[in-house]
């Protein structure tokens, strides 16, 4: 600020030394995101081809792939990756379209928005545990229906969670991806004047839902294509949700790769690398197929529009959309409630809806471990978020000061870490770390989290940052303030809320990371997420409930701060628009 003050007095135009670093911020940001992905992919590909000197692999060949294909579970695991990924993405997208098509601009839509938005911060693992508790044979759904409807006097012997078709896993993914896609769609809707378009189409005699699907969807889809690809790639290769809700014998391909990576017999590393490459290939093929489906859907859609039908079943479609949205928020909401109840449950007889007794014993016994995992989680998330926020603000400010234009290609770069499957490059990073002796540090984990935190922080902050009326800066500078003073005294305070929200998003993303913590931390860095997922196999609901609840709280509390703090600080400032 002293710099700005000095420049304000005179006509000095030489920028300080610090300013000259600013133009490098965007490049540094891209490097922080993409260098680990690139090195990781290399570190996966080489051992897959047999080259890993640390483990005595010097030859180049396809032995690892031969071993992979020889694994009897391979066809099933690969198929599961495709089916669960496509089903979860298609269902999520369809639900989001139905809700928006049927209800955009209504009060119910505002309600749905309010109900679904907070779910975004719930970590995948916690949501998956919550749903697992809900649908399990001894879960709330079975209890609510027993014995009057089902006749069950004790929990039935049914494989609902971890079913061989991955249906529970698909449900878990849908519940988490619907809020994400809805938020992305909402921000896209603002750009295409959807309300007016629908009104015009309605004036031409189309019903609301069909009008939206015919007119708005084609425009919106272009805007949300990258997020949809990210959802597809994520759903095809997710590990933590698959461990909790997915099938076991065999598991999905990504889960199997992680099992091989953690095998004490290091020889399995080659096979793991080959599996990771196969997972990458599957995702690339999946994206290509999805692209073809887009073409086909566009063709069919054009024909549908040209036929000029005015649509039917409007009421049914609208009802289905709303019901699905409510179901999603209930599934996660009740799931979290279930986690909370289980964490303090004593004896809990079936089919009672509530435990016979409550006890803090679980929390008391595991309190110290939960606390230590929570502090590790907060340190890592705090560090990764701070770095991400700094790089993002520096990049955006560099863009502003040097007149750089955000390009379509830059947007693609942001999505690369979200589209390349985690397992494909994180295994490579672990292998590289193993070869260089750097594995297992907290710093390495922070840098790995940064790869995923950065895109979300950037995506969350860039829109409000760029939407800020730059004439405020012109006025402030004409009043004698240098660029630094404008940044610190005008822009940052005015954008306090979106900055805090972006930080909260970044924090939640870091809290939810399972695979980067596990693989880059070499199993030695223990966060709430790694501990909770590790407990999945044991099946002790009381401990799982406690860990998953702590994980949810860690992800959610920063959002509460992000919303409450500006209200407190700017309570007498209506112009900042959050009173």
């Amino acid at each position: 600020m002293s710099l700005g003050e000095a420049a304000a007095g005179g006509a000095s135009s030489t920028p300080g030394r610090r300013l000259r670093l600013l133009p490098w911020a965007p490049l540094l940001t891209i490097l922080a995101m993409l260098a680990p992905v690139a090195f990781g992919l290399g570190g996966t590909l080489l051992p897959a081809l047999g080259w890993l000197p640390a483990l005595g692999g010097h030859g180049i060949g396809l032995d690892a792939f031969r071993d992979l294909v020889a694994w009897p579970g391979f066809p099933r695991a690969a198929t599961l990756s495709l089916t669960t990924g496509f089903a979860a993405t298609a269902v999520s997208l369809a639900l989001v379209c139905l809700v928006c098509a049927g209800w955009q601009g209504t009060r119910a839509f505002t309600f749905v928005q309010r109900a679904l938005s907070p779910l975004l911060s719930v970590p995948h693992a916690a949501a998956a545990f919550g749903i697992a508790f809900l649908v399990a044979p001894s879960g709330w759904i079975a209890r609510a229906l027993s014995p009057w409807l089902t006749g069950w006097e004790r929990p039935p012997d049914l494989l609902i969670v971890q079913d061989p078709y991955g249906l529970a896993m698909i449900a878990g993914l849908v519940a988490k991806e619907v809020p994400f896609l809805l938020l992305m769609t909402l921000s896209a809707l603002g750009q295409v004047r959807s309300g007016q378009s629908v009104m015009v189409a309605q004036a031409l005699g189309h019903r609301r839902t069909t009008a939206w699907l015919k007119i708005v969807l084609p425009q919106v889809y272009v805007q949300i294509r990258l997020p949809v690809y990210a959802v597809l790639a994520y759903s095809m290769s997710v590990v933590d949700v698959a461990i909790i809700l997915g099938p076991n014998t065999p598991p999905t391909l990504s889960v199997q790769v992680v099992r091989w990576m953690s095998d004490p017999d290091l020889a399995f590393r080659f096979q793991a690398a080959a599996g990771a490459v196969a997972q990458l290939a599957l995702v690339v093929a999946g994206l290509a197929v999805w692209r073809l489906l887009e073409f086909a859907a566009a063709r069919a859609g054009r024909r549908w529009i040209e036929r000029g039908g005015r649509g039917c079943g409007d009421a049914a479609l609208r009802a289905a959309g709303l019901a699905a949205a409510i179901l999603v928020s209930l599934a996660i909401g009740l799931g979290i409630a279930g986690l909370a109840v289980w964490s303090v449950a004593g004896f809990w007889t079936f089919p009672n809806l509530l435990p016979d007794s409550l006890t803090w014993r679980g929390w008391a016994r595991h309190g110290p471990e939960i606390l230590s995992a929570a502090s590790e989680t907060v340190i890592i998330a705090g560090a990764a978020t701070s770095i991400a926020l700094f790089l993002t603000l520096a990049s955006l400010e560099a863009e502003h000061r040097h007149g750089l234009r955000p390009t379509r290609r830059a947007l693609w770069l942001l999505y690369i870490p979200l589209i390349v499957p985690q397992v494909a490059f994180l295994t490579g990073l672990q292998t590289l770390a193993l070869s260089t002796g750097l594995a297992g540090g907290r710093v390495a984990v922070i840098l790995a989290h940064l790869v995923f935190v950065l895109p979300y922080v950037f995506l969350s902050l860039s829109a409000p940052w760029r939407a800020w009326d730059a004439r405020h800066a012109t006025v402030a500078r004409a009043l004698g303030s240098g660029p630094d003073r404008v940044l610190w005294r005008v822009r940052l305070p005015m954008l306090l809320r979106p900055i805090l929200v972006a930080a909260a998003v970044g924090f939640a993303v870091s809290v939810g990371q399972y695979l980067p913590t596990l693989l880059v931390g070499a199993g030695r860095v223990e966060t709430l997420t790694t501990e909770a997922v590790a407990l999945a196999a044991g099946g002790d609901r009381r401990i799982i409930g406690a860990y998953a609840l702590a994980q949810t709280a860690a992800a959610f509390l920063p959002f509460a701060v992000a919303i409450l703090l500006p209200r407190l600080l700017w309570r007498n400032r209506k112009g900042l628009g959050h009173v």
């Binding site: 135009s13 006025v475 009043l479 240098g482 900042l576």
Partner: protein
């Protein structure tokens, strides 16, 4: 500041182009206390001209010629060193600062001491009939009150020239004449060369000075 150094605002052979396409050209001298009105349809580059003078022009525009204020060449001088005040169509009061905070923002740092600065702000508010408004949230002011605060904020920074980017077009007719008269009177009283950009003929007539028409509309403006 002696009157000998008061030469006003000179636009010397100013040519602004975008991608090899000439957007506007102007060569003029706005004397202290004089108002030059620049008129033209939207897209004709009026706002670009202002951004050239104030020093915030987008690097995508190529600028030839120079801007002089009271004899001083402003080429390469950052906006904060130019001493050119600007008023936009919206008041752009900083929403996180109180009315007094907004005025203090532009008050030069060489006026020292809390009490002295506060007294200066109170006096400025009194001058425009807003006595006791220092603690108010700008969002609670009426349109006319906001316009007056924006004017005083700009004047407190002691500019030596004044740029007006359609500053009255959002006010309703009665208020519009009132605010317009206040701004022009303030500019005349302080002997500020003033450049008014507008597409409204009544604004131009009220300004009473020369009118400069710029170019045919182009898409990139």
């Amino acid at each position: 500041m002696s009157d000998a150094t008061r030469d006003g605002l000179r636009l010397e052979g100013l040519v602004v182009s975008h991608g090899g396409h000439r957007l506007l050209a102007i060569d003029d001298h706005v004397r202290p206390g004089e108002v030059l009105t620049v008129m033209g349809p939207s897209g004709s580059g009026k706002s670009t001209l202002l951004s050239v003078i104030v020093g915030t022009v987008d690097p995508a525009f190529a600028v030839r010629g120079r801007v002089r204020l009271d004899g001083r060449d402003l080429t390469g001088v950052p906006p904060e060193g130019r001493r050119i005040g600007i008023l936009f169509q919206e008041e752009l009061l900083f929403p996180h600062l109180s009315v007094g905070g907004n005025l203090a923002f532009g008050l030069p740092p060489d006026l020292r001491g809390r009490a002295a600065r506060q007294a200066r702000i109170e006096a400025a508010l009194e001058e425009v009939g807003l006595t006791g408004f220092a603690g108010r949230d700008p969002a609670t002011l009426s349109g006319g009150e906001r316009a007056r605060v924006a004017l005083m904020r700009m004047l407190l920074s002691e500019p030596r020239a004044l740029l007006l980017d359609e500053p009255f077009s959002r006010l309703d007719a009665a208020l519009r004449a009132q605010v317009r008269d206040l701004v022009f009177a303030a500019a005349r009283a302080r002997g500020l060369p003033t450049l008014l950009v507008t597409h409204d003929a009544t604004d131009a007539a009220a300004a009473g000075g020369r009118v400069f028409e710029i170019g045919v509309p182009v898409a990139s403006g």
